[in-house]
């Protein structure tokens, strides 16, 4: 193997090792420890000065108690399930909003497309945190939305949206919309229009041509978009804690509570390990989908 090839392969692997595997090993190690009121707040800690005997003693003190604990307390699986539910529903809602937008963009005159694309990406230039904060101002009891609806006479009493799950859905759909629009747009834009003409020549109406030709051909983009929204939404912390109420149960929030309020680093780490394990399944599916698409293109 020549040196150049080694370097080319080595760089991403070193990156992965340093910034994923090593931190992950540390998290796993903490998840096997016991909480303690000490600095750092868990025991045992790794002391290399103890030599081989010290290392053996260290490993003998690790156990899976924290993982057993997660199965005993209904809080955790309820939170995982509730996160799955919120992530699934918001992915579907995002798809519902994004598809027409992507379709419109792909069918827009060519000279507009760059501008439209720009408008989709533009919100990213503002901090994510500030954009979520501003939704608090819009959705609150004294917020803009209620003010406008009251003024229009549509409602008599201000709606309670902030601090409910509805606000969380709005926040997730808003935040992740571009991740859904862009992959769908890129598949729709590549779509050969003559296929639709052919379908119409062969007796399809416009609607049935859309369902029989456009939609099936956009599936790779839809699948990619769904994963890009679903995966981060599952572990979301900022949106549920700013917009959600005490009834919003998401695993990201539970993780924060374990770490900061309960100061239980071992349990927090165990929750994080399981969250990752749950996420690996959709991530592998996503990889497969990308792979298939690549092969299809060739």
């Amino acid at each position: 193997m020549n040196l150049r090839r080694l370097i080319v392969i080595g760089i991403p692997f070193t990156w992965l090792l340093l910034f994923f595997l090593v931190p992950f090993a540390i998290v796993i190690k903490i998840s096997l420890s016991d909480p303690a009121i000490a600095i750092p707040p868990y025991s045992p800690t790794l002391e290399l000065s103890g030599g081989w005997a010290g290392l053996k003693a260290f490993f003998s003190q690790l156990d899976f108690e924290n993982f057993t604990f997660l199965t005993l307390d209904p809080l955790y699986y309820t939170a995982y399930l509730s996160s799955l539910k919120i992530a699934t529903i918001s992915t579907l809602l995002t798809l519902g909003v994004a598809f027409p937008m992507a379709y419109g963009m792909a069918r827009a005159p060519e000279e507009w497309r760059a501008t439209l694309m720009m408008l989709v990406i533009l919100p990213f230039w503002t901090s994510f945190l500030i954009r979520v904060y501003s939704w608090m101002g819009i959705l609150g009891k004294e917020g803009f939305l209620n003010m406008i609806l009251l003024w229009l006479g549509i409602i008599d009493e201000p709606l309670t949206i902030l601090n409910t799950n509805t606000a969380v859905y709005i926040g997730i759909v808003y935040t992740y919309l571009p991740f859904m629009i862009l992959p769908i747009y890129s598949t729709l834009e590549k779509l050969d229009l003559s296929l639709i003409e052919a379908a119409e020549d062969l007796g399809c109406t416009r609607t049935s041509a859309f369902w029989l030709v456009t939609v099936p051909l956009s599936v790779p983009g839809v699948v990619a978009g769904c994963f890009l929204v679903f995966i981060p939404a599952l572990g979301e912390f900022v949106i549920p804690s700013l917009l959600g109420g005490s009834d919003t149960l998401m695993i990201g929030k539970v993780l924060w509570e374990e770490f900061f309020s309960n100061r239980d680093w071992p349990v927090a780490s165990a929750v994080a390990v399981i969250l990752l394990a749950i996420l690996i399944i959709p991530i592998i599916l996503f990889q497969r989908n990308q792979q298939k698409q690549l092969e299809g293109d060739q």
């Binding site: 909480p35 600095i39 307390d73 809080l75 005490s246 770490f259 309960n262 239980d264």
Partner: protein, 361 residues
């Protein structure tokens, strides 16, 4: 000032300090000082003061136990201080750098010595009680003129809470405050830590949970003052600040604080210097500045909490020194209890209980 749960930073304008000045970083509770004092400290000592605030002992402890917080002075409550001292989080005070320590009040020093033996690691900043703040007008409207506003019955009896839910009730997001109160209501020892007693406290809290709008440890000051909520279970001085803000705003809201007759928790917030403080010299300067009689009196006159400084007492306004809700008389003092810290195993029981209460699972 608007409050959020996010660690909020109150950056102090660097008017007095030059670019060369050394920094002193202080991490204190929100709404807990007259900010004029911060400028005064910079002007007197030439240090740059970085003043950050928190509203939860738990968050402070997370930072202390993670180490390397970067703060020179922090203000944990007695019970938390005690176990953080054991964990090695603080350095002993150098009394030779604290000439103002002579101003401290023996009565309080004796009490804080149970958390910090010999008061070797900390000085008392302020102390107070945990009790019930009400919007008197709203509560009378919902529960009648004889509403039990000085009793735990108001906040732990579901029949009362069901009615109060309509106008909004906030509880502190602090298990070490709410669980002793629930134990006292159940007629148990507020310092109990065994599983059976905690289960009874959980029952009390769970029964009223549906009627609580929010668990939060600082939002209630403003919410109570502008009439958004009508009951808060919170800290004495915070509720008295809400009373003042409402009076200043002349918005028709009248707030009252009562330590519950079933017994109220008495707590002590202690200033201490982290073991790894970057600037212990500056930290001592800050502690000494705070222990000055005039400075401490200014702080108490502003935030309506009692302090542990004997010399400051003659400089306190009558509203503070004369109020038994702040400086309790003998009879009220009888009614106050203190608690001890939770050990590691008990701690987990407590945090689980609290997570269940908050999430309703």
């Amino acid at each position: 000032m608007t409050k959020t749960w996010l660690p909020m930073t109150a950056a102090i304008a660097l008017v007095a300090g030059s670019a060369m000045a050394e920094e002193v970083r202080v991490y204190n509770w929100s709404d807990y000082i007259d900010e004029a004092l911060l400028e005064k400290f910079e002007a007197e000592t030439g240090y740059d003061l970085i003043y950050d605030v928190f509203d939860s002992n738990e968050v402070l402890e997370t930072k202390m136990l993670a180490g390397g917080s970067g703060y020179d002075v922090v203000v944990p409550t007695g019970t938390f201080l005690q176990r953080q001292i054991v964990a090695g989080a603080f350095q002993p005070l150098d009394m030779s750098k604290l000439p103002n320590a002579g101003n401290l009040w023996d009565v309080i020093k004796d009490r804080t010595a149970q958390y910090d033996p010999g008061n070797a690691y900390s000085i008392n900043y302020m102390w107070g009680t945990t009790g019930i703040g009400v919007n008197t007008g709203k509560v009378a409207e919902l529960l009648g003129d004889d509403a039990p506003i000085n009793s735990l019955d108001l906040v732990f009896n579901p029949a009362n809470m069901e009615k109060l839910a309509e106008c909004g009730v906030h509880f502190l997001d602090a298990p070490t405050e709410m669980v002793p109160a629930a134990l006292a209501y159940a007629g148990l020892d507020p310092d109990a830590k065994d599983a059976d007693s905690l289960a009874k406290a959980e029952e009390v809290l769970m029964a009223v949970r549906p009627y609580i709008q929010k668990f939060h440890s600082s939002e209630y000051i403003n919410a109570l003052a502008n009439g958004e909520i009508c009951v808060a279970f919170g800290w004495s001085g915070d509720i008295l600040q809400a009373r003042d803000r409402a009076a200043e705003a002349e918005n028709g809201v009248e707030v009252a604080y009562n330590a519950p007759t079933e017994g109220a928790l008495m707590w002590f917030d202690q200033m201490a210097i982290p073991a790894d403080a970057p600037n212990p010299e500056g930290a001592h300067a800050f502690l000494n500045f705070i222990m000055d009689a005039q400075n401490m009196a200014d702080a108490s006159n502003y935030v309506y909490y009692a302090n542990g400084n004997k010399a400051s007492q003659e400089l306190l306004i009558e509203d503070v020194i004369g109020d038994t809700a702040i400086y309790p008389d003998e009879a009220t003092l009888e009614n106050l209890y203190t608690v001890t810290p939770f050990g590691p195993a008990e701690q987990r029981l407590l945090t689980r209980l609290w997570t269940r209460v908050k999430s309703g699972v």
